[in-house]
Amino acid sequence: MGFEKFLFYVFAAITLFAAGMVITRRNPVHAVLYLVLAFISSAALWILLEAEFLGIVLVLVYVGAVMVLFLFVVMMLDVDIATLRAGFIRYLPIGALIAVVLALEIFLIVGPANFGLQQFPSPVPAGPDVSNTEELGLLLYTLYVYPFEIAAVILLVAIVAAIRLTLRRRPDTKYMDPAKQVRVKKGPDRIRIVKMPSESAAVPAVAASAAPQESTE
């Protein structure tokens, strides 16, 4: 128990420190990297709570996929820190006041009296043969199948949203359709043979009309 508690405090401290750094760093890339640290240490906290599946998913999905994309966006956007911080000093006093009052109020009511260890005794640790993933799946597909399905619809809407807001076809851009290129046949698609009566004088316009059709694609 002792070592576990020690680990908990170490990871909790790292999480808090990293979360604080996320919102105070000037460089957004650093902030994102600290966010990765916060995610990884909270994944460790979850593993300490025997929620191995959630911990690993947090690392895989958030750190592996979401944060990497986030990093790309942050690096590409070239965020201007100066404008972001323009009103910071002006709003600091009132913001800090509200934050302090809010934190105090919440602490008074939600404090150790209500959320202490006496109120929430530690659950009995599960045996080694209990599969975390299986338990989660059982709950997710039975008791919580209703919100689970709605979440699926939300994801569908998110896909539609992303496509609607970003996909644009510009009529003036030229693009190639590889499918059409592949389907081209040797004979009639590439060359058109035009029968011409033979003439003595060369007429340049005739050569132009016999140009290959393919170039318009």
Partner: protein, 484 residues
């Protein structure tokens, strides 16, 4: 719970299941036909919404739950869902022509409207904090995209971004509140929370902290002051068809959700949340009335108008009994009809094939189009609460309930602010009837727009002749919340 999957247990959610499947089918169909088929998809969407409404009407409206207890169907949800579906139908019908005129005729529009409608229907049936949250997110996400639907204009993009960022903050507040409530009550289920609150007095105070955050999140959705800042910008920036949707449907759904949360799990704490809702109602009435006075853009004006209407409706919530909720439902019903009519006129405000939105553009409408001007005047008088019209009865029942319950100050304040609000409604009437004629609008070819305007004006004018059926529908529906 781990038995066989039985479809019969899910029958209470049949309308929603149908609407979800229909939206997905239309999405696939639209992806194949492409944007040429927007009109077809729109008509199919109208049919799907109508069939959903028929399924809903055919169902038994007694209280029933689905497995897991996260979805409840009762007559309160039934009436609200019918109102939502009617609103969706009107919006899709009126926007077909608008989408073509504005060249945003993408097939995603009706599909997103249907998904938003699905989210709203699930919202009013929520019986668990978890299902409340996911349903709210479903409708919000669809609405964010709709606000930015005309994304080539800066206004629409701005509306989308603003709505999204502020909506995300309010969702965060809501989730924080839900987590606190879960921590103290030990359950997210509404019935369980109600039981715990009755059994244990000690957890009421800490749960109140959570409830405050939940209320902030919901107040954002009904745009009650001081969480209204997004409303004018989003109403003005979004394409008018989408503004119509915003004004008509989500307000009703969010108000119904607010009522369900307050009267379901937190009924025992009515005196506590009553104070918070009083603050919201008073601030909404005052800000809605005074901030609208200087508006020149009619969409922006309607935004402030909707804020003040939500303030009046909240008075009925404060009364906190069966009659109070009944008067809110009646108010919302009348509000929907009036707003639909007004937006039918706003959608027809086009000159040289460009949409115009300023109040001055309505000048002399009485000469160029007397019938439209007359109908619009009736609707505006009704919104202002002038006696023989429907809007008067909406306000009247709310104030009567407030006086009955002893909330004299609120009732007086409501009357005073509606006098202030009357000024800006009557100003539009004055512009239409007495100002020098502006150029006439393009001829309005939209059959659905004219139909909506006609029905709305007829309802507003003849409500006094047959008020009883509508009133009893609204009051009967609210009884469901008080049978436990």
């Amino acid at each position: 719970m781990q038995g066989e999957f039985e479809f019969s247990a899910w029958v209470p959610a049949l309308p929603e299941i149908f609407l979800a499947l229909a939206s997905m089918a239309l999405l696939v169909a639209g992806a194949f036909i492409g944007n040429k088929g927007t009109r077809v998809v729109c008509y199919a969407a109208l049919w799907s919404i109508a069939v959903t409404a028929l399924i809903l009407i055919g169902r038994d409206w007694g209280r029933s739950l689905v497995p897991g207890g996260m979805f409840v169907m009762d007559s309160f949800a039934g009436l609200t869902k019918l109102m939502i579906l009617a609103g969706l139908f009107a919006v899709v019908a009126m926007s077909i022509r608008y989408l073509h005129q504005e060249q945003i005729n993408r097939f995603e529009f009706p599909v997103l409207v249907m998904f938003a409608g699905l989210g709203m229907m699930l919202m009013v049936s929520a019986n668990d904090m978890l299902s409340l949250y996911v349903a709210l997110e479903l409708q919000s996400l669809a609405l964010y995209v709709l606000a930015a639907f005309h994304r080539d204009t800066a206004y629409s993009a701005e509306a989308g971004i603003k709505y999204f960022v502020l909506g995300a903050i309010s969702s965060g507040m809501l989730l924080f509140g839900i987590s606190l409530i879960y921590g103290f009550a030990g359950s997210t289920n509404f019935d369980m929370i109600a039981h715990r609150l009755e059994d244990m007095e000690a957890i009421r105070l800490p749960i109140l902290v959570g409830l405050v955050f939940v209320l902030v999140g919901l107040a954002f959705k009904i745009s009650a002051v001081p969480f209204h800042m997004w409303t004018p910008d989003v109403y003005q920036g979004a394409p008018t068809a989408v503004t119509t949707l915003f004004a008509l449907v989500p307000k009703v759904a969010a108000m119904a959700l607010l009522i369900r949360v307050l009267f379901g799990p937190f009924a025992a704490m009515a005196p506590d949340w009553g104070q918070i809702v009083t603050l919201l109602a008073v601030a909404s009435m005052i800000v809605g009335a005074f901030a609208a006075l200087g508006q020149e853009n009619i969409k922006r004006l309607m935004a402030f108008s909707s804020i003040s209407h939500m303030g009046y409706a909240l008075i009925g919530v404060i009364v906190a009994d069966e009659g109070g909720v009944g008067s809110v439902m009646l108010y919302l019903l009348i509000y929907m009809v009036m707003t639909a009519g007004v937006f039918a006129v706003i959608l027809s405000m086009r000159r040289d094939n460009l949409a115009v939105e300023s109040i001055g553009d309505l000048a002399g409408l009485a000469r160029t189009r007397p019938f439209v001007a007359f109908a619009m005047a009736a609707l505006l008088f009704s919104m202002a609460g002038v006696p023989p019209l429907a809007g008067f009865f909406g306000k009247f029942f709310i104030f009567v309930e407030a006086v009955d319950a002893g909330y004299y100050v609120l009732a007086v304040l409501g009357v005073l602010t509606s006098v202030v609000a009357a000024y800006y409604y009557l100003r539009i009437v004055k512009v239409m009837f007495f100002d020098e004629s502006a150029e006439p609008f393009d001829p309005n070819k939209s059959l659905s727009g004219r139909a909506v305007l006609f029905v709305a004006a007829l309802f507003v004018l003849t409500f006094i002749a047959w008020p009883q059926p509508v009133i009893s529908i609204a009051y009967d529906a609210s009884k469901a919340l008080f049978i436990q």
